[in-house]
């Protein structure tokens, strides 16, 4: 940081790379506006993320119970994930209106795939001899799920949660690029058009911080939840 600051003042850096102090001053120039934009983008990301969790885990749950549906659910998931978000946003906006609903859904669309893959893999990650143990006791399918499949899947679920959080932020940002009024994505786009380099960098940094925070929160929850594994073994 210090090096960056000094090099800038010495004139070593190109115009496209501002000094940290300049980025900082961009934040100080309009903290309220940036705060509002941050709130908007975060809210859409969280809403979409929540929907994605419910849908992906629900689908994986069904796949765990009905083996015949597994390929269908998986292929549907792959197909859905291949939709280019930048194109999907205006389309969704046509149907659902150009509002938070559309942008939340895009955030969900952007983030559900690792959740789905993580859950579908996780729900099959139990050990065979554990399953045989449950079989010897004639456990009901629900009890097998609750006592074996779900706990065994937690490391996979958390991997999905961690990977999906930055994607939800990214989706929320992307959705703002086409016709939103507020949000970090809007600020970023405006700054780009106005060649406001400091602002571009500020929005980029804010976006990174949001993604990082999303990841870090889940890494923390994972560490507290999976108490039976030594921290050195976990992927956090």
């Amino acid at each position: 940081m210090l090096l960056l600051e000094l090099s800038k003042h010495a004139g070593y850096l190109p115009v496209t790379l501002p000094a940290p102090s300049q980025v900082w001053s961009a934040l100080l120039a309009n903290p309220r506006g940036i705060g509002l934009a941050l709130g908007e983008t975060t809210m859409n990301a969280i809403r979409g993320y929540a929907v994605a969790i419910v849908v992906a885990l629900g689908a994986a749950f069904i796949a765990a119970f009905v083996a015949a549906l597994r390929p269908t659910i998986y292929n549907l998931g792959v197909g859905l994930s291949s939709i280019p978000l930048i194109a999907a946003t205006p389309l969704l906006a046509l149907w659902l209106g150009n509002g938070p609903l559309t942008r939340s859904l895009i955030a969900g669309l952007a983030s559900y795939f690792p959740l789905l893959v993580g859950a579908m893999q996780g729900f099959r990650a139990y050990e065979t001899n554990h399953m045989e143990l449950f079989h010897v006791y004639s456990a009901s399918r629900w009890r097998v799920f609750r006592f074996l499949i779900l706990p065994s899947s937690l490391p996979y679920l958390f991997t999905g949660f961690k990977l999906a959080a930055p994607l939800a932020v990214l989706g929320s940002l992307t959705a703002e690029l086409t016709g939103a009024e507020n949000g970090i994505g809007v600020l970023m786009l405006n700054a780009l058009f106005n060649f406001d380099i400091k602002m571009v960098w500020l929005t980029v940094l804010v976006a990174c911080a949001m993604s990082g925070a999303g990841y870090a929160i889940w890494a923390l929850i994972e560490r507290l939840t999976i108490y039976w594994e030594a921290p050195s073994n976990s992927s956090g």
Binding site: N129, L133, H135, Y137, F147
Partner: protein
Amino acid sequence: MPKDLTVKDASKWFDSRGQQVIALDRASLSLPAGGFGAIIGPSGCGKSTLLRMVADIIAPSAGSILVGNEKPSTARLEHAIGFVFQSATLLPWRTVRENIALPLAIVGRKSKRVARRTPDELIELVSLQGFEDALPAQLSGGMQQRVSIARALVLAPDILLLDEPFGALDEITRQRMNLELLRIWAESSTTALLVTHSIDEAVFMADSVFVMSPRPGRISQVVDVPLPRPRTLQMMSSKIFFDTVNRVREGLYGIDAQGTADLAAGAPAVVQ
């Protein structure tokens, strides 16, 4: 109430990539209710396969298995079977007490099985007091296996199946665990069937030793152990013990001289 076990001409073949593997070839054995049987044989001869068929984990390809005059599936649905796997198979997120109580949680309160022991009584039985709240990762291999034995006993099974439960343990620990297992078995009124690789262990533990021949596996000989109960370590230096061990050894290693003749004649092993 302990259940007797009758296996008659049970065979199992697996299809692995188009090729048929015969894991077990017309195995027969019978074990009276409350008896202690041991299965011994070389690796890959089908011991686990046989045990898993008795527990209804897999179904026989041919032949019949009766647990107390019922199909294994019936016994399983009655929660009458206790199974101790080769590895302890504990759930890593459950404490010792919670692992032992797992069958209770799985079966729920509706179960008709009455003769239950509380997890705490079982913890005492397997001498794990003080470790009730420890996680499996904090236990030694021997302690983990004791937890899994306690778990197998919590629903007071009518038949207890043990697949090389102490295979991974050192000689000393193993001997101690065997003594404990015999004590537990004597107190539990259950039929026990133990798979082992050790001749000494088989003779020391069992009333009858079922000797298996290598692939395709079948039971080639039954050796009765005329030692009284309760068994003590001193018995291991007795002449009866020595003679019985020799008979089992002959059954295991003399297999080619006699076993081939048996197989050629197609006669099932003599079982009483």
